[in-house]
């Protein structure tokens, strides 16, 4: 038996927005923007539909908040990974990729990635923000690191941007797989294992002096 005298609602102005955004993330990731119903979000946040409009003006604003909330921590992680001392390129990379794969498995980036992909045409500004603020800087930083390693003679020649894409693509695919195919019975992909094996493969593929990788 639940206590009868539970208040019908509590006043927790400060906590509401985050709770709503968290609930919205789940629902948007599940249904996509258009098919997500405000009432579902409200219900999952333990709140009435009207209450949402005390904190957000429109459905799009909620969507924006969800995506923006997903940008900050990721960007931070990439920044941290690339700010590390650039002594050993191979180890730097291994560390970065490990951190990335850990974050990707632990957090809800997956849902956000799916949202951004799925709604990119309906919300170009969002895809653009996600790209300009996160994807492009991160890819650029990696491209730069690879290019200078090439200049030092550590890496083989080749388009550094494409090398960067070769490096991170499998993790992205792992996330998409988890969001798309695992729920319908596909064999899951172990993202950390994939990341680890792939970095080694990648390093053997681009390092100049054979046998240098530990």
């Amino acid at each position: 038996m639940l206590p009868m005298n539970q208040p019908k609602f509590k006043r927790r102005k400060a906590d509401r927005p985050d709770e709503i955004v968290a609930a919205a993330l789940e629902v948007f990731a599940e249904k996509g923007f258009a098919a997500a119903r405000l009432e579902d979000i409200a219900a999952r946040a333990g709140v009435s539909k009207g209450a949402i409009y005390l904190y957000f003006a429109t459905k799009q604003d909620i969507f924006r908040a969800v995506v923006e909330q997903g940008v900050a921590p990721n960007l931070e992680l990439v920044r941290a990974g690339l700010a590390a001392p650039t002594e050993n390129f191979a180890d730097l990379l291994r560390g970065l990729v490990k951190a990335l794969s850990g974050m990707v498995t632990a957090t809800s980036v997956g849902g956000i990635v799916k949202m951004v992909i799925g709604e990119s045409r309906n919300f170009p500004e969002l895809a653009q923000a996600w790209h300009d603020q996160l994807v492009h800087p991160a890819l650029d930083a990696m491209t730069g690191a690879i290019a200078s390693a090439q200049a030092r003679g550590e890496l083989r020649p080749g388009d550094p941007r494409l090398y960067a894409i070769s490096l991170i693509a499998p993790m992205l695919v792992g996330v998409i797989w988890r969001e798309t195919f695992t729920p319908v019975g596909a064999d899951p992909i172990d993202i950390p294992s994939l990341a680890e094996q792939h970095v080694d493969l990648w390093l053997r593929g681009v390092l100049n002096q054979t046998g240098a990788a530990a």
Copy 2:
């Protein structure tokens, strides 16, 4: 002056379904399932909304037809690529990847991929069909080919399924990039170049005897 006696419409029963599916592919890829309006599909197919219901019972049926139409040609291509004589593993792979990247740039798989990812939760049966009929067989075939090459000692040890994912992931990411970020001003990715450079990288990363790749 246009002739006044232009017929208001033509009767072309046989062609209609394909035209509708083609139009639907465009609209679904642009807006996603829920946000796509039947009238938009009808208009783009040069037909009235009512005419659609002469050929499809529901909106979902159209969606199904679009996805199913996207399966057949892809499957065929993968089948053909893997049915080739398994003489030189490296060359086989290069050929397969080249064919894949060509197909991916030429056709509308991109839009379908986006649809399947975006609507996977709303249409689990579709994600499942796509996985069971195309993704899983293809991945399985590659995994098998890699495993037997390992058994022959041509390739390094390691999880063959993860190696397969490492191989194809960049192309998938290329397609997603084209659908998601290029339209909002991101630098495009040249998928054939990416594919070519990546296969070489991959081969250097997994081939056993160094320097064997041409």
